[in-house]
Amino acid sequence: MNLMHPDPPQPSDGMIICNDVHKWFGEFHALRGITTTVQRGEVLVIFGPSGSGKSTFIRCLNRLEEHQLGQITIDGIELTSDIRNIEAIRSEVGMVFQQFNLFPHLTVLENITLAPIWVRRWPKGRAREVAMDLLERVGIVTQASKYPGQLSGGQQQRVAIARALAMQPKIMLFDEPTSALDPEMIKEVLDVMMELAASGMTMLVVTHEMGFAREVAHRLLFFDHGQIVEEGTPEHMFNDPQEERTQQFLAQILS
């Protein structure tokens, strides 16, 4: 079972189209020719050993890192160094970080309304309404006037998800969203992500939460040494992985 396109994909094919994407950090070749297409509404889980390029890959999709070869097209717009394209794409792509990266000097509500007010130019009242709805959705509506430093890790990460959703993005990127959390808080964040996946959001999730992958992902990508070693549905990847490296890695993390 192979979803890779035989031909260079056309813009109409998907939400995210990557064609032979390469990235170097100095001499280190971090991404070695990533080619994949993500369909609208697809939930993609990316996993692999540390240093395999999985975080670098999703950070290239909103230009936190710059790729040096190949093409990335997001919702029909190609990512080039044109600053207007980058800002247009960033406002369509939400990102959730391992370390939450909430703004510590702003309240929860201000964290969420900041971008809608300053980037989308919404009136304050509307931004506030949307923010309160989102806080309701992620289950922390009572914490709106607190500062991030006063919340638990799980609550902070749920605020971070709400902050990204406030821009009404078409795509959500998750960079190891539960890796910095205490075990008892992982579930509350995964629950929010599952609800989001069920709502039809296009999601790319770098994670080692294989329970989440099995239940929610449409497709899994296994990264190693900057390449997609193997990809497929959860049934394929968990029950019948073809590549030896995939088998070894899964054996290690599932044991």
Binding site: N62, R63, F103, L114, G149
Partner: protein, 396 residues
Amino acid sequence: MVVERPVERLGLIGWLHKNLFSTWYNILLTLLSLALIVAVVQPLLIWVLTQAEWDVVMVNLRLLLIGFFPLDQIWRVWVCLAATMALLGLSRGIWPHIVGGVAPVYGAGLLLLALLPIELNQRLWLVLCGGLVFAGAALSRFLVQRSNQRIIGWVAMGWVLLLPLTLWLLRGFGLVLPVIETSEWGGLLLTLVMAISGVVFAFPLGVLLAIGRRSELPAFRWFCTISIEVVRGVPLVTVLFMFLIMLPLFIPGSESTDNIARAIIGLTIFTSAYIAENVRGGLQAIPRGQFEAAKAIGLNPVFSMLLIILPQALRIVIPSNVNQFISLLKDTSLVVAAGGGIRELLGMADSLMGQAEFQGKQAEVLLFAGLIYWILAYSLTYVSKRLEQHIQRHTT
């Protein structure tokens, strides 16, 4: 089962034992400190209260406070002071945890000064200024309790407008009010004008230099770096000497420009280089994740700097910037050493010592000037400490 936390109760004896006499070396230190305090404070108090002749200060009070500012226009100075005190009071009502004791102490101090043997007119102004502190505090507290948030914006606006308004009122610029040349300004008034103008101009300049030094544009970065390093490598007296004495020699016609303005430019440039380095430290302390998160939600670099990075960086460097402002306040006295005939508080004190009838009264004059510097500097420290604590309490 609920267990009450045991309450520690220390009597006076217990407190003394715990804090001052707990070990043999603490006993020794306590006794030594006590001896030192008695040895220094006792003679000082005796001198201040019984031997010092404060006539020299009382007779020259006007010179020490406002220099040769014309007496018939003195109301302008009073209006500036009254506006400042009203704002201080209003701020106390809005931000009681930050302004704290500064407002009531200043207000009470002004009211007490009205007891001095001075003209009735001046006494009424003092009562007005002191009264405005308390009236302002009461008014804004009342409005805030009624959750009238607009007062906060008005008071912030008032602080922003205070300096331009003060400069206009004091000098006149020929609009409505007659011009009073800055050569007639002096004493504490001039110290405050130079220090506050220096802060207000140096702060934004310093922030810009700090951002420029981290810019990705090489030309801009080099310009900022070189400016900062050149200014930091030179003593302040040299910078002031440059602007007060050398500039008129180099640029014909510039000798007719206002030398107070030139002193303020020198102080501003000097202070901005140090503020730039403080702020750069703050910028470096902001984790990379904050920049990335700002980018990821679509903020452009200007918004990201103004809304996310600077507010955090400036909070980190409050103590070092306040330090810089205290330095500036005291360093205004260096304009005397640079020459140019400016008589701010210390310069005025210095020239008073030359008066024949007050020969040998240096100690009184210098102690008075020192007291004023200390009151101002300590107020700044006090407010900045409380501001820091306030931010700490409210974000964690």
